[in-house]
């Protein structure tokens, strides 16, 4: 198997995640002490110079976001960790939290110091009860040892709604409401949880912070591609020999991910398609595999890096059936707040069921194309905007598969 670059997962398998002393013995919580001896503004400049961009999917510059919250004036601010991880095919945040919970807590505490927040929340998805236990153990140990200077963290549990990964929906859910997205602006760094300035970052984003503080922003910025530096943890699923996870620099290409790290397709079969970024991402054919996984390179080919899920299909797979299954996901997960998504996801699923069942015609794929285009700009949040992507990309790149099913 090809060599990985483990930065976020540097302690994976080397420490007992339930023992804070193990983490401290590896140099843990030293970066936090270092951060607290820096001027908060300088600390943010350091994070900015790393050019770390959010690992939750949207790719927003982390230091920039922190600066907004730092500058906001308020009696109370919050640090929120997005551990909702609802994207099908994704489990990288779970790997971090199960194996190195303190890396996350340390990243959150550093953020708290940087923006002036004394309270943090981890919103952990309801499907991970065992992770909640690990996080609570880690928090108790950190408090007992007194490692946090002026900060405390509480874990809250989600209850099975994909949309709650969207940051404003997550905030609504933390407040005890239905997890429906809020209108933006105001953005959470100025008005978030209970109307206070709030930073919402992904687990992997926070887990990158301690090492950036330790080794410096320039060091980090030199890894991977300049526009989206660092590493990314990928989870490989589907028709792939190594159904596992890797951490690789962001200039790694999709072909390397599938053949070098993933060990290729099982049973000597040929590659057909890969869906990156989880269920909301596009399906990509063979001729685009030399694209680096970095955020912008993926956008250029109409795909997304997203959460880092990589789902591979071999030549024998029925891609129309898979796209149909995915359209059911969106129909089910649409929160119903806005009509283009509520009605649109339902119509996509109807049309895909019809086509998949051999009862569709050319006019149905034309309708899907039009509906998908309208949804991509008229839906209220990213869920509805991205929902058509798997269907539209398969119609585009795998037309023969559709033609074979049309009447």
């Amino acid at each position: 198997m090809a060599e990985e670059m483990r930065i976020v997962l540097r302690n994976y398998g080397k420490i007992n995640p339930l023992k804070i002393d193990d983490y401290i013995a590896q140099g843990g919580y030293k970066p936090y002490d270092k951060a607290c001896n820096m001027d908060a503004f300088e600390l943010i400049q350091e994070v900015k110079s790393a050019n770390l961009r959010g690992r939750g999917g949207a790719g927003f510059n982390c230091g920039q976001k922190w600066q907004f919250a730092h500058q906001a004036q308020a009696d109370q601010k919050y640090v929120v960790c997005n551990a909702d991880e609802g994207e099908p095919g994704t489990y990288k945040d779970r790997m971090i939290m199960e194996n190195d919970p303190h890396a996350l807590l340390e990243g959150m505490a550093i953020c708290g110091y940087a923006i002036g927040a004394t309270k943090g929340y981890i919103y952990c998805r309801g499907e991970y009860p065992q992770v909640v236990t690990i996080l609570n153990t880690a928090i108790d140990q950190a408090q007992e040892k007194g490692v946090f200077k002026n900060f405390d963290v509480e874990v809250r549990t989600g209850a099975g709604a994909y949309v709650c990964g969207e940051e404003t929906a997550l905030i609504e859910s933390l407040e005890g409401n239905r997890g429906e997205p809020r209108y933006k602006p105001p953005y959470p760094p100025s008005e978030g949880l209970w109307g206070k300035p709030t930073i919402v970052n992904n687990v992997e984003t926070f887990a990158n912070i301690p090492i950036i503080v330790e080794k410096g922003g320039d060091w980090y910025a030199s890894i991977g591609t300049p526009a989206y530096p660092g590493t990314k943890i990928l989870t490989l699923t589907g028709d792939i020999n190594n159904r596992t996870f890797f951490e690789v620099p962001t200039n790694t290409t999709l072909r390397e991910v599938i053949y070098k790290y993933g060990g290729g397709i099982p049973g000597g079969k040929k590659f057909k398609a890969v869906q990156t970024g989880g269920t909301s991402g596009a399906f990509i054919p063979e001729n685009l595999l030399d694209t680096p996984i970095a955020f912008d390179s993926m956008s250029e080919i109409g795909a997304v890096l997203g959460s880092g899920a990589v789902f591979v299909l071999d030549e024998t797979r029925d891609i129309v059936d898979v796209a149909c299954r995915i359209s059911k996901f969106f129909e089910h997960e649409s929160c119903g707040k806005c009509a283009p998504c509520r009605e649109g996801t339902m119509r996509i699923y109807d049309l895909m069921t019809k086509i998949n069942g051999g009862k569709g015609s050319k006019s149905d794929t034309a309708l899907l194309n039009k509906l998908g285009r309208v949804m991509s700009y008229s839906c209220f949040c990213g869920l509805g905007q991205a929902a058509p992507a798997p269907v539209l990309s398969t119609i585009k790149h795998f037309q023969a598969d559709y033609d074979a099913k049309l009447m």
Binding site: P88, G89, T90, G160, E175, G176, T237, G238, R325
Partner: protein
């Protein structure tokens, strides 16, 4: 202790948590496997929201049920990676073994069968969970043995 006092106690333990109604619902489901009407009304009072809002929350999240259901909640993941790994066959085996369809509970009140989207254990598909515990790389042959753990 009667049922009502028991809900009240469970909810009361969490009343200091700002916005903690979802945590309260989790606590109630752990005990009863669903959210009884009285418990929702009680939670609304404690967290100072209208009963309608409390119902709004209870019905928004897929892990909550306002309908009574079997004690052990079985969820089968039907997201794409599990789907292509053969989730359908596992589903058929579960239905056969339990004699119920999705959204139903067995007559003895022991099991409820539900579908779910990805539960984040995609390294070993297909996956089912029972009361949150994940079973990996399942296949129809493994189902009777897994269910036996709960009988």
């Amino acid at each position: 202790m009667n049922r009502l006092t028991k809900y009240a106690n469970l909810i009361n333990d969490l009343k200091e948590k700002k916005g903690g109604i979802i945590e309260a619902f989790h606590a109630i489901e752990k005990e009863y496997s669903y959210l009884p009407e009285d418990a929702i009304v009680e939670a609304a009072k404690t967290f100072n929201v209208s009963t309608a809002e409390a119902y709004g929350v209870a019905t928004f999240y897929s892990m909550f049920s306002v309908k009574p259901r079997g004690k052990n909640v079985i969820r089968l993941c039907e997201s794409a990676p599990c789907h292509i790994a053969g989730a359908d066959e596992v589903f058929d085996a579960l239905k056969r073994e339990l004699g119920i369809d999705v959204g139903e509970s067995t007559e003895d009140g022991l099991f409820a069968l539900e579908l779910t989207e990805c539960v984040g254990q995609c390294q070993a598909t297909p996956v089912i969970t029972i009361n949150g515990k994940a079973y990996l790389d399942v296949n129809p042959a493994k189902i009777p043995e897994i269910l036996a753990e709960y009988k």
